[in-house]
């Protein structure tokens, strides 16, 4: 299921590929046609193989042919003419040898060499005041990641399953996995949340579904169909490791990809709420300032008195963190970058309009989720890396380091 796993800065060394088997196979096929006669040999690279790789393979092929007793000549009209082309198709490299013996038609032999899945190392950027750390990477889609115990246990939410990994010596080991049962198909642009719980391990929120893990023993998920509000914003009471409280939760439309309403516990409803993809909250004296990324693409700033539509060029994901830096509350918001990837930046709202308080942190692909972590002072951003095709989960933490 998991194709590749990278945890917290793990790097994979470049690999060397062994081409000897296909080299030998092709040489064998050529000799079967030409016998031990002298041949004139030429090469052509029509593939995406690098020059160095091509040369390695050419040498290997020459070696194999010589080993089979073939002699190479140049400009001898009597000799068989062999042209070897390195080509490729969707799945593999294709090495084609066209053998022209005097007085007969060109014969064609070929071998197919599966192309190894390209694996590249993950990038890590160094933030200035927004720190971006890779938490998890996998080929299967990631909806959310929750760090259950710092550097020890991590839970990954995929569309159909929740995985819990324990990290030993930098290597992850699967500790438990549970399937999420649901009777109706997931909507497109599936979103989900996974949140560590106080009394049991974790809670999972998906469209129309809420799951709770068992309190102890083996990792089991109890899921039921209900529209519980999803926790959006948390506020830690201060101090590391202490518990935090949910500042705002929101109701998710079960068959779509947006929220329909927010709730600020205990029980207070905010009436003027557009349909929104994400929301950020900044508590003010006895009141709160809300920022909504509405479904029509605009950002609404709502306080007790007004609902303002701004012309901010933000993306549709934002959240707010309670930190010990700056004004205490920062809004993290995604913005599109020209090449199709996204960036995240931190903002504060001193008066009416948001002011950037950090440099933009770039991601290699579009961000599909930006959730505040349960501690309340950091967020998880999920992005798909277009180069590897893998989904990557990053932690975004605010460091007051100017």
């Amino acid at each position: 299921m998991l194709i590749s796993v990278l945890v917290l800065g793990l790097a994979i060394a470049a690999h060397a590929v062994d081409w000897s088997a296909p080299e030998h196979e092709l040489a064998h096929k050529i000799v079967a046609l030409t016998g031990n006669a002298a041949i004139s040999l030429s090469f052509e690279n029509r593939s995406s193989l690098g020059r160095r790789d091509a040369e390695i393979i050419q040498n290997g092929l020459r070696g194999s042919l010589v080993a089979m007793g073939v002699q190479f000549v140049q400009n001898d009209p009597a000799a068989a003419k062999v042209v070897i082309s390195f080509s490729e198709n969707v799945t593999s490299y294709v090495w084609v040898a066209q053998v022209q013996k005097t007085g007969s038609d060109t014969a064609v032999v070929m071998v197919q060499v599966p192309r190894a899945a390209s694996i590249r190392s993950a990038r890590e950027s160094v933030p200035i005041n927004l720190r971006k750390v890779l938490l998890w990477s996998q080929a299967e889609q990631i909806l959310d990641v929750a760090v259950l115990e710092e550097n020890v246990r991590v839970a990954v939410l995929s569309p159909e399953k929740v995985f819990v990994y324990r990290i030993r010596g930098g290597n992850p080991a699967l500790e438990g996995a549970a399937e999420i049962s649901h009777s109706t198909p997931w909507p497109r642009d599936l979103r989900g949340r996974i949140v560590p719980a106080g009394d049991h391990m974790l809670d999972v929120y998906l469209p129309g579904i809420a799951c709770h893990s068992s309190a102890g023993g083996a990792f089991i998920l109890n899921c039921r169909e209900e529209n519980d509000p999803w926790p959006l914003i948390f506020a830690s009471s201060g101090g590391a490791g202490t518990s935090s409280q949910v500042m705002a939760q929101a109701f998710f439309e079960a068959s779509r990809n947006f929220f329909t309403g927010v709730e600020t516990p205990p029980g207070g409803w905010l009436k003027i709420v557009p349909q929104f993809y994400s929301a950020a909250l900044i508590p003010r004296d006895g009141d709160a300032l809300w920022l909504f990324a509405s479904v029509n693409g605009s950002i609404h700033i709502v306080d007790g008195a007004a609902d303002r539509v701004t012309n901010l060029k933000w993306g549709s994901d934002l959240t707010s963190l309670r930190t010990s830096c700056g004004a205490g509350w920062q809004v993290l918001a995604t913005s599109p970058v020209e090449d199709g990837s996204d960036s995240v930046r931190a903002y504060e709202v001193p008066e009416r309009d948001p002011v950037a308080v950090s440099a933009a942190v770039d991601f290699s692909g579009p961000i599909s989720a930006l959730w505040a972590e349960a501690k309340g002072d950091s967020a998880v951003a999920i992005a798909r890396n277009p180069e590897t095709g893998n989904y990557e989960a990053f932690r975004l933490a605010v460091a007051c380091g100017q």
Binding site: R46, S47, V94, P185, D189, D317, P336, G340
Partner: protein, 452 residues
């Protein structure tokens, strides 16, 4: 001009990235996508053999129906309506996905799957068991799985002339040959699509489609390959597949004598494909000497696509009489007309007599043959069309090469070009892409203007 297949792939995926992956906002639900297409389908049934194959037809089929298995981007089989499968001897058992419903509300059962497959392949032996279907026959697992990806084998519930599928959209209104209205299927097993509905206008020429797009009457259109360069220079959102459509000269019958065969070879050698590609097609596609494009087979360059007038004249000189061939083409397609005229000029250079004609029964004609996403499927289909018996329908690359050589040796077909299928969308259409086999993926597409 030398363009490596993999670079092609990379280039086109970059192009896709530019169009598709701009993640500044989440996909929006709602809206009606308006599409125009050239093909005028007389039936929506993917197994209806009276409807000619076209990318337009495949696009429509993919919106309404699902196959048991599909190819992923790396040409590997992946599950669709079949969750898993096992092969044993001459048998392939496919386990049918649970909880999938047809648009008419009935559940997908092994019986309906078996009935659908039998309808599309009368020669197959398909048996239904409670949760699986078993297909027996003289074919390998790979061959059968590859065949199951074909849109003709999409699972269809046929009920008194009406068809029902399991795809993301269901049929709301269908006016044969002209108009199709689809609506999102809320309970689609792959998830409800973002679009609320899709309105398809059929039988529109490339020119009409472009006009509609410029007037803002349509969101997604097909583009003639020779227009691709101009349109991308205009900065419109254009996306092309890999070169997947084979343009070839197809003879009405097989060559009856070696002399006739030699004349056909002379014709193949006289056509200056590079000039046609560079000028008439404005650089789109690839000159082709092979049936399968290089990106699909890897060896296509072995079949020469170059022009050799002296050899052509020599072959022609061996013939005692020169037949006056009549070359047919689609008179409604301006590009086809140019191609026919150029080929006639080229043939004349080699001393061959080739007359363009709009008559319905020419000696040979310019055929546009949409290939399948898979090499063996493409060859198999073409061999059936040409009436060339294939000894194998799946196997190693060398066997593929042998099969392709056999079809070319029949003399029925002279490959000319491989063309990509290209599409242009209005800027408001997001997250759409063109699959390598020439169809548009609209499963996750959404409209910026949609109101949720």
């Amino acid at each position: 001009m030398k363009l490596f297949a993999w670079q092609w792939l990379a280039a086109s995926s970059l192009l896709l990235a530019a169009v598709v992956a701009s993640g500044e906002t989440r996909p929006r639900y709602g809206g009606t996508l308006r599409i125009e297409m050239r093909a005028a389908l007389s039936s929506l049934d993917p197994a209806d053999r009276n409807v000619p194959d076209s990318f337009g037809r495949r696009n429509v089929t993919a919106l309404i129906f699902d196959t048991l298995v599909t190819f992923d981007d790396t040409a590997h089989i992946k599950p669709a309506l079949a969750e898993s499968w096992q092969a044993a001897g001459q048998e392939l058992r496919l386990h049918i996905r649970h909880d999938v419903k047809f648009h008419d509300g009935t559940s997908l059962t092994a019986e309906t799957v078996a009935a659908s497959l039998r309808f599309a392949n009368p020669s197959w032996k398909v048996m239904a068991e409670p949760d699986s279907v078993t297909i027996q026959g003289d074919f390998s697992e790979e061959e059968l799985l590859a065949q199951l990806t074909l849109s003709r084998n999409a699972i269809v519930k046929r009920d008194a002339g009406k068809v029902s599928g399991t795809g993301p959209f269901h049929i709301v209104d269908w006016q044969s040959g002209s108009r199709l209205t689809l609506a999102a299927e809320d309970n689609c097993w792959r998830g409800r699509p973002f679009l609320d509905s899709i309105a398809v206008e059929m039988g529109k020429s490339y020119h009409d489609q472009m006009t509609s797009l410029q007037l803002g009457r349509v969101d997604l259109i097909e583009v003639s390959p020779e227009q691709v360069r101009r349109i991308s220079q205009e900065g419109r959102g254009i996306a092309s597949s890999m070169p997947i459509e084979l343009v070839a000269l197809v003879f009405a019958r097989e060559a009856l004598s070696p002399e006739e065969q030699a004349l056909r070879s002379a014709l193949a050698l006289s056509v200056d494909r590079t000039a046609i590609r560079d000028v008439l097609l404005q650089g789109a596609g690839e000159a082709a000497g092979s049936i399968l494009p290089i990106w699909m087979s890897g060896y296509g360059f072995v079949f020469s696509s170059g022009v050799d007038l002296s050899k052509a004249r020599q072959l022609r000189g061996q013939a005692a009489t020169i037949p006056n061939w009549r070359l047919g083409y689609d008179t409604g397609d301006p590009l086809d007309r140019l191609l026919a005229e150029r080929i006639a000029l080229n043939a004349h250079d080699a001393g061959l007599a080739l007359q363009t004609t709009s008559s319905p029964s020419p000696d040979l004609w310019i055929a546009h043959l949409p290939l399948e996403g898979d090499a063996w499927n493409s060859l198999g289909k073409l061999a059936d069309q040409m009436g060339v018996p294939l000894t194998k329908r799946h196997g190693s690359l060398e066997e593929l090469y042998a099969a392709e050589q056999a079809i070319l040796k029949s003399g029925r077909i002279i490959p000319l070009l491989h063309l990509p299928a290209s599409y242009v969308a209005s800027p408001g259409l997001r997250n759409w892409r063109v699959r390598s086999e020439g169809t548009v993926s609209l499963d996750d597409a959404w409209l910026e203007s949609a109101r949720q």
